[in-house]
Amino acid sequence: MAARKRSRRWRWIRLSVQILLLVLFLYLLIGNRVGASTFLPGDLFFLLDPLTGLSAMLAAKRFIVPMLLGLLTIGLTLVLGRAWCSWVCPLGTLLEWTSLRRRYRNAPGRLSHWRHVKYLTLAAVLLGALLGTLSLLILDPITILFRTLASGLIPGANWLVTHGETYLYRFEPFRGFLDGFDRFIRGTLLPAAEPYFIPSLMLIAVFIGILALNAIRPRFWCRYVCPLGGLLGLVSRVSLLRRTVDPEKCNACRRCARECPVNAIDSDKAYASDPAECTLCLKCVEDCPTRAIAVRTQTQPARPEQEGLTRRQVLGSFGIMLAGVALLRLAPLLRGSDQRRLRPPGSSEDDMMKKCLRCGVCINICPTRALHPSGTGADYDGVWTPMVVPRLGYCDYMCTRCGEACPTGAIPELSLPEKQQTVIGKAEIDENRCIPWAQNVNCIVCQEMCPLAEKAIELEDVTVPNSQGLETVVRRPVVVRERCTGCGLCENKCPVPGEAAIRVHPDHGEGQQRRRGHSQ
């Protein structure tokens, strides 16, 4: 009796730690967006994640000091093995909770060759990083969960809440309650500005796909695909604490092997477990009827318990990876064919490829919804990096938050005066669509919106014949290219339906050259 009572302890401790860290993850995601002073850095999980850190440093070919925090996780893994996956990783927690564990019983050897896949994804991520693209970090579990929540699930929840509220607000009896509820929830759990992002649906679809893999095997993603799991699995081979089975006590009941959430225990090898797979959840330790299982310090590095790859397989997969990465790096050649991609203030296309983790912290934090995750344009290697979409949101004149929030400096930290002079792009008027230009009818919205003290849009009075053939004066907007910083407020507010008649296009630096020419 006493033994059973004691044996539940670890399970509850682990569950509490998981819940606590998942709540912390959500708290940092929301707190960072609100701008509240969270007691920990808003990008804490990205800093702790050794895969994002290692890749970012490989790609940038320099140390990124805050990201050395990932060494803490490596250190813990050296002691505890792959405990991250069952104790810390918020995606791992969600995948564990959504696994239909009762429906599946482990059978030895099944799908075991799939375990190599995660090492291949890891190698591909690192090889890509070495060759200068972090595109494959979209497979990192922390970025997956952050991106899906911030740009997919929260906007969806917001839509439901807002439309429910709007409907109920027609009815007098609900108003008092809704007023209080709305004040409480806006700017806290839900963003103050209505969030909507171009690839929301795609993000959610990918996430559902990852959850659906649980139907094949519990925690399929963690077992077979996750590159971070692969990295920590490699480190775990030399970890200090490892699971041991006392052959004296073991009665070969198979329970541990059958119920291991990650199928790490091999009944054919005296119920030994592969340290690269064991996530130290301690379920077997607690469940063992004869208490034969313990976690003890070991000094010998573990031999890989699973079958290794043949040399041919290794070379073959390396070839495939190289081809994949090469294909990915063809993308820059296609970039010119893409219509336009505006980057957050101060960051270059090169920064985006080499430094951006695709984490979505900047997108989450942008108060005016200027930043959106890029879809797959022609240059597919930029997928889910942030881009400014002025038609949906503009870069606020008084805001520097994306640069402050970026974990890697892919968006530089700029002071407000610096940001206000940083060119995102240049606005250009489409004279075929602009109302005063095309229809000789006054409209001054873009000029009115321009936030610069010396406006980058001026109105020129032109005498033209109107529809009755009489001479009238029409005020036409004209962009003063030297002044424009491309904040996109004009494009955002342009009343022409559909595509705006004034649009911001990438600058390519000629504006700055011209400015330099002026000062000489």
């Binding site: 709007t166 008084m398 009818v441």
Partner: protein, 326 residues
Amino acid sequence: MDTIDRRQFIDRMLALGGTALATAAFLSLTGCSKEPTAEPVADNSTPMPPPPPPPGDAAYLAVARGESPTTLVQRSITALGGIERFVKPGNNVIIKPNICVGYRTSEYAATTNPEVVGALVALCLGAGAKRVRVMDYPFGGTADQAYSNSGIKEAVLAAGGEMEVMTKMKFQDTTIPNGKSITSCSAYRDIVDADVLIDVPIAKHHGGAVLTLGMKNLLGVVSNPGSYHTADMAERVTDLNSLVRPHLTVVDAVRILMNNGPTGGNLNDVKQVNAVIASHDVVAADSYAATLFGKTALDVPIVRAGARRGLGTMDLSSIKIEEIAV
């Protein structure tokens, strides 16, 4: 494979149909962000009832000039018969200043003077108002930032009022019975329903509207002010004013923006006038404010349209104006 009998089939189809119907109903009921009709509709608008004459010997319009914005507000309202003429005990009051952007402090005369707003909040609470809320729908920057940077938040909270961030759920489809260019709009429910609405524009130059004053300031009441800035702006703003009629208009002319409006950004464009204009008639108040720019109401299409359609009078010679020097 599972089989189902007829009854189960019918049950399932009914459940499916019911769900689809409920979803469709929900979607159609919540589809509430329609643009105003783009085509001008036939002018079947009837002239609006004019504002009632002021009681007793109260002034129709009061102009106070002097150093302290708070005193200017108090004295001009007193000349109109006191705040009690507009605000009754227990009233729900909404004050609508111009807080158009989050990147200008009040010196730039792009946003209403905070002291003017604060003084009005204090007056309303003094008259026994139950709740005094101040709000606007900025087009540049977030509402919180605009409320703070304009200095209005601080002044309102100090006076005991509330700042409300205008929230999406309260923008509701509303028909405009007297509409000429637009017949419906997405208007802020609480403002439409308020017992007392006080319109507190700052007098500014405007690139498209010539001047932005009390009538145009009410564009902050709809969720899509951008689509009013077209060739038909004067009629559209008048349509909106026929739906949302302020009970009191107080034009802040302490500092006025002479050029590069409505957002300004250059102190050379700002002129210190040290005046406050108050009237229950928004057209009259706007008409007077136009004179501060060396113009008349005839130069401002919105004010002209408002007068033509009966919202108020722009003829300053026909009304009782009280000029107060403080």
